[in-house]
């Protein structure tokens, strides 16, 4: 059993805590959070101890940390944990600032680090990638990534979120990189505040269409909205030379209602905790494999930088109204 400490007892921290507890190879040993009550509650629930970051890093029996604290602490905690010889499971994004994140790349070069782009572990997207990798439809040419949230977050959250591209589309930029088999060389983005004028007033957008282009001419569309009106909308279509593979939304059940107005399927699984529950479990299992030396990290620091750099380029394109070369 490997001891692992959690930094950050918020919503996403709780998920990782539960998955660490349930994993046969891992023990959640410590919970660290500046909000004492949060740390204590989660510690009680999981059988872990409340601790400070310093104590965790000094404890040689702790093999790894999960960085699930606020984004502005990610880099510092990664650097400290790596210096203390711990393996790191770090939530996305690396940081809000590409320059800062780039500067940390050197010191973190040799880190055993898994970055939490959870969608790579979703069974549906994995099945899609497996079909592509197996050549079931030939070579990929274009990609359509649709990623709409069910409802917009409070404006207070939007203001500190880093904006739609870094907060929300960052996942989609990673998906694009994962599936296109070629880096994007140019980005173009348009965005609007159609859902909530207050989001526009806060200087952000809630609706965007982003185009990526690779050197060989592959094209990718990323469609984002902060509000779908019909649940969590997470779909990918990969067009290739001999057909198309798509991963569709996941329904709450297989039940259909047939009435005078037509056949109605069940609702889509409504948000990320539900839709990506299996992905979060698989992600933790992969981290356990990394700790045990059974696997190399499939999502390293460079992946975090690359996604962040696409997000910054999209933001720049939005501001300038022109495509941005990478």
């Amino acid at each position: 059993m490997l001891k692992i400490a959690l930094l950050g007892a918020g919503r996403i921290g709780k998920i990782h805590a539960a998955n660490a507890v349930a994993h046969p190879d891992l023990t959640l040993s410590h919970v660290v959070d500046p909000v004492e009550a949060a740390a204590e509650a989660l510690a009680r629930e999981t059988g872990a101890a409340v601790a400070t970051l310093e104590a965790v890093l000094a404890d040689e029996s702790v093999a790894a940390v999960i960085v699930a604290s606020t984004t502005d602490t990610h880099l510092d905690y990664c650097l400290a944990a790596h210096a203390a010889g711990k393996a790191i499971f770090c939530e996305k994004p690396l940081d809000m600032d590409l320059a800062r994140a780039s500067a940390a790349a050197g010191p973190l070069a040799g880190a055993r680090l898994l970055l939490g782009f959870n969608r790579r572990f979703d069974p549906n997207f994995q099945a899609l990638k497996a079909r592509l990798d197996a050549g079931a439809v030939g070579g990929i040419e274009t990609l359509q990534i649709t990623s709409n949230d069910p409802a917009p977050p409070p404006v207070a959250y939007v203001k500190v979120s880093g904006g739609l591209f870094k907060d929300m589309a960052i996942h989609d930029f990673d998906m694009a990189r994962w599936l296109l088999d070629e880096e994007a060389c140019e980005v173009f983005a348009w965005g609007s505040a159609l859902v909530d004028p207050a989001i526009g007033a806060a200087g952000d957008i809630d609706t965007a269409r982003t185009l990526l282009r690779t050197a060989s001419g592959k094209l990718c569309v990323i469609a984002n909205s902060r509000r779908s009106g019909f649940g969590y909308d997470q779909r990918i279509e990969a067009y290739a030379s001999a057909g198309m593979v798509r991963a569709d939304n996941v329904l709450e059940s297989s039940v259909q209602l047939w009435t005078e107005t037509g056949a109605q399927a069940d609702r889509f699984q409504n948000f990320f905790l539900e839709r990506y529950a299996a992905a979060y479990r698989a992600e933790m299992a992969h981290f356990a494999d990394i700790l045990a030396g059974r696997a190399q990290s499939s999502i390293g620091y460079a992946d975090g930088l690359a996604a962040l750099s696409l997000a910054e380029a999209a933001g720049e394109s939005l501001r300038s109204g022109k495509p941005v070369k990478l």
Copy 2:
């Protein structure tokens, strides 16, 4: 251009008239109907002449008749038309009485006759049969035929309809024969009046489940209801040794509505005129091929007798509460 006369200017007669008019090889020459106004209206619309049955049969330029009159006239008109040397397109069922229909089999032995089991011409069921015939899923073993009307007919109609088995399930008995590749040797049926107590009071049922069994042990379920509550429900599932082929309902459009309650498809095409429009056209085209000597009738008198005999057996089983051997 071959001249063809219509006997019966009712709902189904009008469909056949329109399809005959639209067919490049056929001319609708005469319309015969005891209700003069009906005959005249349809004649006007189609450019045909109003005529009596006698005149039609005496007219040597008329190559064929469409028997779309009331069921009790089918046999007599077929016999007369055959005696006059006409080819015959006769609506189902042959007759309400198996004994009477059997008695006419001799005289009609050599007739060029197409019986109107239109579902054999439905593109969806034809695609299903094509897959089976091509061996796409191996040899057929069991069959599920679902055939529900959108809403029950008036009780007045039910009383003269010949009952659910002869009026409605007769199509399904023919489908079973067409797809099973082996004749049923035994029938068992249960029925209830669940939709409308008046149907029960009239001595009929509105809901039935009928089992067919062949000598080699193939099994078929026919599910019928006079009212689905969700439109016209016409589906078939054919289970075979290496999989299953199904033909599903047909939707009014490919439109879906995605809202908070789920994804809603469009309504099913609501009734037989809409769902089987293509089938009726193809049926008339097949009749034109028969007339032109390009094809043999694919549905002959013997098929009509066989379906009627299954319907009678189902009725007998319903009354006796026991399976009936054929």
Copy 3:
């Protein structure tokens, strides 16, 4: 934490053991199995102790037993556990013999017993029932239960299985009772050995169609095959006065392949361990609720007897060729 002991360390026992271990309120304390190696392996994996039945029953700290041993031991173990004051989670079926099971009903009258009809806990079937109970489509009239295994078991298994009705369709009889809201009063069944002649030679069938009828005329069809050719096929359609609710098969992923031959969905989840994983977890959670006094058992001894009695009646109908009244 409530201590619970497992009787039977086979395939289904292992599932229940894992779910008990994962449940926050339960501790798996003991594993009992005549095959010592099996008991030891599972005990090691789960942190439980190997024990004898006698020791378990004598241990006052053990609150409950899971009866997952061979079917012929179910009744004896239930009686012994109840006499020792333990709550019981017993796998289906109660017994192969209705008379024997009926005889035990008296002594077990007051037992806290949950019978393992896991499908009642499947999220899809629960969603179906919830729609029906909410009146979304009016009152239920007819029911279609389709339950096909992916591939036939070895004939050696078939010979000791109690036959298709008691081994396989027993679940469907329970589903019919759960959904029809009225007990069946008559059963009719036809069966064939179409999949494997050896199954026929062993005196069993591998393909069946069973009809149930209630006093008010509700009809139910149960379609069973030991081999679908396309995976585990578990579907229900409930027809009601204003529409229909169906629960469809569950796919391995939401991925579709679009190629020249059409759009291909992913495979159905292939067998019960996968399809009903969530149901087994929910079942254990319900048992924990019973133990904690938070819930009454939703599936009691009488439900086991009723399903067994339908299975016997179906077998009798198959042999006699006639409907059997209950």
Copy 4:
């Protein structure tokens, strides 16, 4: 019966000829084509006479012309037909050159002219628009138009086609205008030659992603490829404030094959003659209504200019690499 003359006896001309012949109010009187054999064959088939353009225009009994000749003749024929007092059904596009087409707008100002954007008459897209217009999902915000051909045309055709935007995407520009309820004010396009290098060598693209933006911030993505690998791919998704409406591809039949590899639906209707057969019929019916004074043309000259202007802007954006304001 209104007499109507056909200019152009090619593939699309034949469709319009057949629909005119089948329409109860129309008579196809003349066929005009420089290729004499083509004109004669179609005239023979439809019962029309071969004629010259001059003769047709001079014939006062001819009420209307169908302009289905090569694109470079569209404007001249429209001008001549309007000067002769004929109503006009003109195939898209108006012309390859926006300036030329704009110049003809004045003389054609009062023309009774229907432009052949057939997709507006597709029952699926009409159902989609009807849902939007009825407010079923609130106000439209973004639009995704997917329009992929099954296989690329010969390069010889590509060279004279006017390019992907004017030849193929012109329909999609019209769809966007029809559905967005607001004109686009800016266009951005990226394109590649991924399907066939010869298309690239000919100076054209075979794959494109085009973004449209309206003044209020509505966004539209148009996805085009000259080759899907899975048939004719014609889909629209309209995202609105309370949900989404989509029109999906249309299948050849409702048949599904369930085998070990999953459930396979039938192929998509493969190309425009099949997919838009009903649309072409409805388009001709609308033209008949215009001729009879029962309707105003729903697609006028200005619509043709607007779509062409979007196509030109997309081409300009492709060349310049920058968004283009309209």
